[in-house]
Amino acid sequence: MSLQTFEYERGAGLDGKSRSTPPSEVSAATPPARDADDPLHGELMQLNMGPQHPATHGVLRLKLELDGETMRTVEPEVGYLHRGKEKTCESLGWAKFFPHTDRLDYVQPLMNNVGYALALERLAALAVPERGQVIRVLLMELSRVAAHLIYLGTTAIDLGAVSMFFNTFKERENIYTILDAYTGHRMNNTYVRIGGVFADVDEGVEALVREFLARLPTEIDGWEKLLSGNRIWYDRNRNVGILTKEQALAWSLTGPNLRGAGVEFDLRKAQPYSGYEQYEFEIPVGTVGDCYDRYLVRVEEMRQSVRIAAQALDRLAQSRGAEFLAEDRRYVLPPKDRVHTSMEELIFQFKIVTDLRLPAGEAYHAIESSKGELGFYVVSDGTSAPVRCHIRAPGLMNVQAIPPLAEGRLMSDMVALIGSLDFVMGEVDR
């Protein structure tokens, strides 16, 4: 799609207009030439960054070897937040693992819920009612906005634009208010179930969402005005961390990082789930593949999310009162009021909570999360104990892309690069 973006004096844009400085020249010119007479020539300094560092967005540790200001080798060390999620799934069972998925990529808990639920539903061959799917789409798009707001706020604060942090967190608070009204908790909501969602969206929540969606595009325009033309933001992001299409694919990158490199691929379009094929939206792609392009892609994705969420709201208004949770008592918990009044439903509740059995077999399902392809590969042997639940975390791949993009660049580019690759350690380490 073509985007209307800010044009800086040297030309920056996503709509096919390349910048006047070709990226190849810039990246070749960036490492300063070494003076052969320099007494320190060839001597590298070891620098440790993290695991407790404000710019690594969590507990990532980077081991750097610096030649002056230039990074010669970069070695990410992950695992500082490894909590053993996959093992936990094997001991807890399928249903009780839901709250753990929230805490994977904790800036978008409901999105992870949906990804996990979809994998289980695919394994169980269970269909979700129309209204349940629409509610899920609405929640996922709100989560996507919330996650991109974290990207924008934290990356901007790392690059010196402190006011952006307050601007984006103000809007995140509005998303929290919506989720608080709907689920009763601000974060880690665990509101998605196998077969649908836990509760229906009522009119009060709808009104909150509508109000939020009406205001957000203006806010996004304001942020773009603050950042896109900002000399510091532009210069620190432009031509930093340039990814080509081939590189992005070879390094298994997905999501905004892949789209920033110019690949028009979005799982919502390519392999639709939850009825995404019925929504109108466009996929923004970059031209150069640098941090600035990834920034533009994410900002545009927020606008598209607003579009999708607005369509979801319209669908919700049409299907008011319809079923939002499947009625399959092999996998789906009965509603609480019926549990309290019917012996049969009480037995179902007990059976599902204590040992939920999924058919023997295996399934993979991936969703387009804010970081990329979030996939769950689940293997069941027909008993209530999962054999394997592998979480394909897009964030891990984003971390893996740091060394090839950073080596040879200046130390200060690292902060922009970490921000724009966008990962959350909860998901990277699992």
Partner: protein, 173 residues
Amino acid sequence: MPGTITSERVDGALAGIEHRWLVHRDGLPALELDLAGLAHALRALKERAGFESATFVTAVDRLPRVPRFELVHQLFSLAHNERVRLHTRLADGENAPSCTQLWPGAAYMERECYDMFGIRFEGHVGLKRLLMPEEFEHHPLRKDFPHQGIEPDRLYREWDKKRRAEWHPEAAR
């Protein structure tokens, strides 16, 4: 629905390499290979069938089945919007071929697989633990490893003892 989906493109690329299509539940073509043919198959899928990207590389511990492990590669082709999953059975102590030469993105996946299951990948440059500390002795996702771990705080206690001895030698005595 369970059934067998086959892909002619994959079949064509794997001509000459023994493979069996599997029954799946998720609509993805899945096939089983022998360990001996795995390296060839991966190369063929990359070069002849155009799978540009590795989605994940992981393993499943099927204890007490023999052989114990099942190595799972899932590949993705952007041009054809197609996925394929490869299953390879592997005994404890057997090495698997690394596919990092084909997909550099698989490096962390294989490191994670080594970390969690103890499966070594031949040809992987820098195969070491990814998530657990290098000195950790176990492979957590093996079925015979308890969820609560075996002495989970051992490494910290050793570090703490050293730190106390260095910083407060009089207290350590």
